[in-house]
């Protein structure tokens, strides 16, 4: 076990954890980091700097709902003849820490329960005859590898601090970590260092109520939140708390610039849904064809009042810390952290993940226990409580019956075959539809509209069936994941509305990205996946060119081979597919039907049909 003070690197994460130790109402810390960065070691060592006997509960990824929120303790109930309650993990973490490793792989129902507990400070147990409220206030520490997918925004919103994702691998630091693990670098001062740190935190805790913040500073932080497009009010509160905790750690009573900067970095910037004004500066640094991250949610809905948010650079008065100055501070923080961070945090799912890096063990997870039903003992898992419930009323009469028959009863309970109830599980998630929309120049604009119509109808259908949808567009050099798998048809529609067209047709890249998306979805328990390709099938950009800039232009044959290989993989992975051909008859050389054939999927010709018909046909 490595102590908190011995861990090398990850200074931001450490800082965040210390702030959390000072003010647990900050809710928690999320640490996105690559495999092997020592994030989970750090998270576990957090217990070192907390007061003794603070609960530290680690949440296993495959936790079942009844273990999470609690339920009836069967053994004790049977032994005592009255209902005995077993507290769930959420309740056990009360007053302490709940730690989740691989937070992004946690299934969505578990996440909903954690979210609910965090906003309520309690768990409502309304299950199997139980109706209880268990207090559940905890700090959530979550670590995850962004290449495994993203954490649900609703959950992140309730967690105070999100450590900026650092892609740089400091080789030396890692070497030190390894040494630490091997015990080669045993630090004899560990104990003293830990003691000192705990003393510091204790002092800061006492200092915290004395820390004050000016109205201007508060306004400044909130203004920054507005111009970064941060959703909701929770972040405002967290930012203020973080700044104050930082001041308390430094044994100050006033919040200073460094505190504000830290609050910006840990709380506000990671939640940004758009680039702050002035946009030009930041935008200019980006390659011209990479526009604003397209899946920043809501950006068009909440236009900040520009007058109030724009830093006033004309007048440079000698004021202490006006909101405007804090705004400038924000720009500074943003410049050092952005655009990398915005891209990393909100679009991390876009990055190529190392295939099969982890998560395989999760595949045997079961669905959600929904209800129980009469059934054969061997045909599934026995739902014990419902079985008991159905047997209970007949105990008196059965015992008497047995007595008559055999003269005595030697079991406490007489359970007959017809009492047996079997657990019914619901397949956690319906189908995932991955829409791959060809937005290359060869798609004439009117055809695009038609394609959008078909997709919209498919989306509507997915909406009714509560399926998940994901949207990939491909044009220019590379395919782009516009929408990671989500149930939000609204978002998919919005992305589709603003989809630009033009450029080459990187069909191979789209298939590759689709496969990555499918792989991730599978680790999350989605079993049925369908690719819906809306294209003319004329891929002309090779995947190779993406990784090797200097490679000679791929020949037509090479491109075709790539596509063929990928299509075969799609088929082998058991992914169903539909190709919707958008090409005019007289131009077609039959590429799209060929593609459908390779994918083992179905083929539809768009120009002949109405959007609605295609949608229906594709889904039938």
């Amino acid at each position: 076990m490595i102590a908190f003070t011995d861990i090398v690197g990850m200074d931001m994460a450490k800082q965040a954890l210390m702030l959390l130790a000072v003010d647990p109402s900050l809710g928690g810390v999320v640490v996105p980091a690559a495999v092997g960065s020592g994030k989970s070691t750090l998270a576990r060592s957090f217990a070192d700097i907390l007061p003794e006997e603070t609960p530290f509960v680690e949440l296993p990824l495959n936790v079942t709902e009844d273990r999470l929120i609690g339920g009836v303790d069967l053994e004790a109930t049977l032994a005592q003849g009255e209902r005995v309650v077993q507290h769930g993990v959420l309740s056990k973490a009360h007053g302490g820490v709940l730690y989740v490793d691989s937070l992004s792989l946690l299934d969505s129902s578990a996440i909903s329960h954690i979210m609910d507990a965090m906003s309520r400070g309690a768990v409502l147990v309304e299950r199997e005859g139980l109706s209880e409220v268990h207090p559940s206030k905890f700090m959530l520490i979550g670590t995850y590898d962004p290449s495994d997918g993203e954490v649900r925004m609703g959950l992140l919103d309730r967690i105070g601090m999100i450590v900026p994702f650092n892609t740089q691998n400091d080789y030396r630091a890692r070497k030190l970590i390894v040494k630490c693990v091997l015990g080669e670098n045993g630090n004899e001062d560990t104990e003293d260092e830990l003691k000192m740190l705990m003393g510091l935190i204790q002092a800061a805790k006492e200092q915290l109520p004395l820390v004050s913040m000016t109205r201007e500073q508060m306004q400044g932080l909130i203004q920054s939140a507005v111009s970064l497009g941060v959703e909701g009010n929770r972040a405002d509160i967290f930012a203020i708390r973080a700044a104050k905790a930082s001041a308390a750690l430094a044994q100050r009573t006033d919040v200073d610039e460094d505190d504000l900067k830290l609050a910006l970095k840990l709380v506000l910037v990671p939640r940004a849904t758009r680039m702050p004004e002035p946009e030009e500066e930041v935008m200019d640094e980006m390659p011209p064809d990479e526009e604003m991250p397209p899946d920043t949610p809501e950006s068009e809905e909440q236009d900040a009042p520009e007058d109030s948010s724009e830093p006033d650079s004309n007048e440079e008065e000698e004021q202490e810390e006006t909101p405007d100055m804090i705004e400038e501070l924000m720009m500074e923080a943003v410049e050092t952290e952005l655009p990398d961070n915005i891209m990393n945090i909100s679009l991390a799912a876009k990055r190529k993940s190392k295939s099969g890096s982890r998560g395989e063990a999760l595949n045997n997870r079961r669905g959600r226990f929904v209800r129980s039903q009469e059934g054969e003992m061997r045909s599934g898992k026995v739902a014990i409580i419902p079985t008991l419930i159905s047997a209970a009323p007949w105990q008196e009469s059965r015992k008497q019956e047995r007595k008559k028959k055999y003269g005595k009863v030697n079991t406490a309970l007489v359970i007959n075959k017809e009492d047996v109830r079997i657990k019914k599980f619901r397949d956690k998630s319906g189908t995932l539809y991955v829409f791959m929309v060809d937005a290359s120049g060869s798609m004439a604009l009117n055809r695009m509209r038609q394609a959008k119509g078909a997709v919209s109808h498919l989306l509507q259908n997915a909406y009714v069936h509560r399926d998940q949808v994901s949207l990939i567009s491909f044009r220019g050099k590379e395919a782009q994941l516009l929408l990671p798998p989500s149930q939000s048809v609204d978002r998919a529609k919005r992305e589709l509305d603003v989809l630009p067209t033009g450029g080459g047709t990187p069909l191979a890249s789209a298939l590759f990205l689709g496969l990555e998306t499918a792989k991730q979805a599978r680790t999350k328990g989605v079993s049925q996946i369908m690719f819906v390709l809306i294209t003319d099938g004329r891929g002309n950009i090779s995947l190779q060119s993406l990784y090797d800039q200097d490679a000679p232009k791929a020949t037509k044959e090479e491109v075709e081979n790539e596509i063929e290989g990928l299509a075969a993989t799609v088929f082998a992975e058991g992914i169903a597919s539909v190709v919707i051909d958008t090409q005019m008859n007289y131009l077609s050389r039959g590429e799209a039907p060929k593609l459908a054939e390779k994918l083992g999927g179905r083929y539809f010709y768009l120009p002949n049909a109405k959007a609605e018909e295609i949608a229906m046909a594709a889904l039938s």
Partner: protein, 383 residues
């Protein structure tokens, strides 16, 4: 033959004594009434989000409006507001300790004489005042707790087959709140749809057959980005309020400051807001009293019908909701006559989610309603 709700009290047990109905209803369940999770944040101290607040208030004034769906950005106070609602709700009368919150008449009606039992007279019953119940339905709830099921404790210990009422029973005549309603499991949605349509909960399981009233105002909230609502459920909600992040910095500073004040010393904060709370409560009660006197002229009614027709809204639920809501809004404004101004103020709330879904439509539903309304009122030509 289906038993009435009395089965809950007067169970299948032969041991149940006659005439002890009212007492038995409390039974061992009394200890189970939910502990209060501390005082909620005061409703009146919530900054902005007027649309959501108004929808909730109108539903208190007239529960027949059919509930509210609040959808919007995360962290904007959706569930805080709904949970704050309990403190401004009026009191209702029920038969003492009745698990279904029935009033005297409902109770007597339901407990109609069965073989060998006397008809109950109002004098036989004790009455109590309780605040309108607000029941939280958590996502992880199982169907048996929602609908009610056999009481396993009694079954195991005394072999008595007693019905243990669920959340639907608790929420009768009150509010049923589901946070993250868009993530609710399909089988629970089905149950809710059934019950909401009929106003009764029918339980046929584990050898019990019970029906009891379950009329509640359904309140749901959620973030549309996390998933959407099934159309049938969407249609069940009377009103649809939308909520977005406030971008006014001064208001946000206020929100933060109030929240901080509340967290520091909830009692003092609540005290500070008592007057506002009382004022609102009084206004709501006044509106409830005024509601039966509120009328709507045929002209206004015609215009409402025209509006719904123009918008191509299927069925009559749209018209019915908009009319009821307009009445409640008029009462809340202290007016006895519904005008088109009242209608205009609430049209978006009542109709927004009833417009036919057009995938290619980019116009905001609120704007569309506003535009059609202007057409109906003949205001468009002037512009």
């Amino acid at each position: 033959m289906t038993q009435t709700a009395s089965a809950a009290n007067n169970t299948a047990s032969t041991k149940a004594k006659e005439g002890s109905v009212a007492k038995k209803a409390s039974g061992p369940k009394k200890a189970r009434t939910k502990k209060k999770q501390g005082q909620a944040y005061p409703f009146t101290a919530i900054v902005g989000q007027e649309e959501m607040k108004l929808s909730l208030i109108l539903n208190i004034i007239d529960p027949r409006i059919g509930g509210v769906l609040v959808m919007g950005h995360r962290g904007t106070g959706k569930s805080t507001t709904v949970r704050a609602l309990a403190e401004v709700l009026p009191m209702i009368e029920r038969v003492k300790d009745d698990v279904y919150n029935r009033n005297v008449n409902e109770y007597i009606e339901a407990e109609k004489p069965q073989k060998g039992r006397k008809t109950l007279a109002p004098e036989d019953l004790t009455i109590e005042d309780i605040p309108v119940p607000v029941v939280d339905l958590p996502l992880g709830a199982t169907e048996d707790r929602v609908c009610g099921t056999i009481d396993i404790e009694q079954a195991l210990t005394s072999g008595v087959k007693a019905f243990e009422p669920g959340l639907l029973a608790q929420s009768n005549r009150g509010f049923l709140y589901i946070d993250e309603v868009n993530l609710l499991d399909d089988h629970l949605v089905d149950v809710l749809l059934d019950v909401a349509a009929s106003g009764r909960n029918v339980v046929e399981r584990e050898g019990i057959s019970i029906r009891h009233p379950a009329r509640f105002v359904l309140v749901g909230s959620g973030n549309p980005e996390e998933g959407e609502l099934r159309p049938q459920l969407l249609d069940r909600f009377g009103l649809h309020a939308r909520i977005i992040t406030i971008t006014d910095v001064a208001k946000r500073v206020d929100i933060v400051k109030r929240r901080h004040e509340y967290d520091e010393d909830p009692q003092a904060f609540l005290k500070k807001w008592t007057r506002e709370q009382k004022k609102l409560q009084k206004k709501i009660l006044g509106a409830k009293d005024l509601l039966p006197e509120v009328t709507m002229s045929d002209e206004v009614l015609t215009d409402v019908a025209k509006l719904c027709m123009q918008l191509g809204i299927d069925g009559h639920r749209g018209e019915l909701t908009i009319t009821r809501t307009a009445h409640a809004f008029a009462a809340f404004s202290g007016d006895k006559e519904v005008t088109m101004d009242h209608v205009r103020a609430i049209a978006g709330l009542a109709l927004r989610h009833r417009l036919r879904k057009d995938p290619l439509e980019t116009m905001d539903p609120g704007e569309k309603i506003e535009r059609e309304l202007a057409k109906v009122l003949g205001e468009v030509e002037e512009v």
